[in-house]
Amino acid sequence: MSVKLKALLKSPWVFHLSTGSCNNCDIEILDCLTPRFDIERFGMLLASSIRHADVLLVTGSGNRKSMEIVKRLYEQMPKPGLVVAIGECAMSRGMFIHSYNCPVPIDKIIPVDVYIPGCPPKPEAIIAGVVKLIEKLNKRK
């Protein structure tokens, strides 16, 4: 494992990106920051800019207008960076698979490392997903 990636896993900073979701997954991500779940105790911090973030939390099914911006934001993210797709919409577009405005799933636009299913996934599931990602990368060395 590269030194950069190893350093990243100690305290991953996350950036939250909604590509056209119903808000539910976004609120569950915010819930992770509040006292009951409090992911800050694992060293995870919500970064306010993509340029400071190590992990990109993507929610939503993506649409024609937001996809271009998603691509641009991913390019701005410092590498190595990890992408976590949260919720059914980000995995496979869920209910909106037949919509005229959601042409492709997120993982066709940007590479995704972890998928967290659920509509919306519970905060526990989001935390478990991110922890699994870190474990997997730690084993790789």
Binding site: L17, S18, T19, G20, S21, C22, N23, N24, C25, D26, I27, E28, L30, D31, T34, P35, R36, S48, S49, I50, G60, S61, N63, K65, S66, I69, L73, G94, M95, F96, H98, S99, Y100, N101, C102, C119, P120, K122
Partner: protein, 397 residues
């Protein structure tokens, strides 16, 4: 003085959802505002036409994660209006309980975010901690934290068991002291007064002219609430007060939301203790041809659904109007003339929900022409003609 344009968004750390504001400022004062939405558009009205009435209930639940009861409530009421039919009493009470639970969690969510926007993160943490308790109540009653899936045309999908009622009431009672503390902390705080009193004032005339809804209008002294004006569910059987304040500033909007949570707790407790013992579902089979409307009071204001049926099991037309669509233009009245530092809290004060509001416009690549429905049909026909011509078929048009 030279005008400066400040873009906010579409992905901004303060925003939960993607939306794009263009603030034109002179020095520190905002002189014009423009809002650009559409980053969330998923074409739900069109998708709904390809789903059955039962499936559409789940689809409209996902219009907005926070209003995941309001939209199915309005939709099922619209479908029941086509027949027309009254749902059983017990179903009405269960619907009311779920809708009020959603109102509490939505208002607490807003209160937390408002504190966050003001840089008062203590309020954010307290409000969201309290909100978890309400989500627990909803999980006990419906099995889910956010998308409750309790509604179906003709009734509710899940009954509330009598053994669940005492623990739920105990849980609801246990949050009241913390809520009282939070109320005092917000309403009596001199720092919050300095930041929110007299900021972003929406006058009564403006509230009426812009057609503002829900807490946004009630904070300006317009006593308008669907729950009182045309009662649905169990609201006409419960004693509760409509909260109306007169100033129309950000502070009053916060006060309205805090006091409404107490009313909601009152309604939930009454409904749980007085659940009538009837059926919960009418088992509707066929929806006759016709059209129906359903409107209910969502946490942000009146949600309105229109459904037209042609006798099949799918809606032919489904129209959704969410409260933020009406509340959004009030920015023109509230934000002009305020300082840029107050802009964030004024933008947040109407409790905007952009994923409810999304509309779509189709334009050509140059951006100089916007197509309407007829133009799109014409374009589609022209394309068909081209394919037919290419393959040596006769002309249709």
């Amino acid at each position: 003085m030279a005008k400066t344009i400040i873009p906010i968004g579409p992905y901004h750390p303060l925003q939960e959802e993607p939306e794009f504001f263009t603030l034109t400022v002179e020095g520190e004062r905002v002189v014009a505002i423009d809002v650009n939405v559409g980053y969330n558009h998923r074409g739900i009205e069109k998708l709904s036409e390809s789903k059955t009435f039962d499936q559409s209930t789940f689809l409209v639940e996902r219009i907005c994660g926070i209003c995941s009861t309001s939209h199915p409530f309005a939709f099922t009421r619209a479908v029941e209006d086509i027949i027309p039919v009254e749902v059983p009493e017990r179903a009405k009470f269960i619907r009311t309980i779920i809708a009020e639970g959603e109102r509490i969690h939505s208002h607490l969510l807003w209160l937390g975010l408002a504190g966050h926007f003001l840089g008062y993160n203590t309020v954010f943490m307290w409000a969201w901690k309290l909100r978890e308790e309400i989500l627990d109540v909803m999980e006990i009653l419906s099995g889910n934290r956010n998308n409750y899936a309790m509604f179906k045309p003709g009734g509710v999908r899940r009954d509330i068991k009598s053994v669940d009622i005492p623990p739920v009431i105990k849980k609801i009672d246990s949050i009241i002291p913390t809520l009282e503390m939070l109320k005092k902390a917000v309403i009596d705080d001199p720092v919050l007064h300095a930041r929110t009193k007299g900021i972003g004032v929406l006058s009564k005339e403006d509230a009426i002219n812009f057609g503002a809804l829900g807490p946004t209008s009630r904070a300006s002294g317009v006593a308008r609430d669907v729950r009182k004006d045309s009662p649905y569910g169990a609201y006409d059987k419960v004693q509760w007060d409509m909260i109306v304040t007169q100033n129309g500033d950000v502070f009053d909007k916060a006060v309205i939301r805090i006091l409404e949570t107490f009313e909601s707790i009152k309604i939930i407790k009454y409904c749980l203790l007085n659940l009538p013992d009837t059926e919960i579902d009418l088992n509707l089979k066929d929806i006759p041809p016709g059209e129906g409307i359903g409107h209910i009071e969502a946490p942000r204001g009146e949600t309105f659904h229109y459904v037209r049926s042609d006798g099949t099991n799918r809606p032919v037309r489904h129209k959704v109007r969410a409260p933020t669509f009406m509340n959004l233009p009030t920015y023109k009245a509230t934000i002009i003339g305020e300082t840029i530092s107050d802009a964030t809290i004024i933008l947040a004060a109407i409790d905007p929900c952009y994923c409810c509001t999304e509309r779509v416009a189709v334009r050509n690549l140059k951006g100089n022409q916007i197509y309407d429905g007829q133009d799109l049909v014409k374009l589609s026909q022209q394309k068909t003609e081209k394919i037919r011509e290419k393959n040596g078929c006769l002309k249709w048009i």
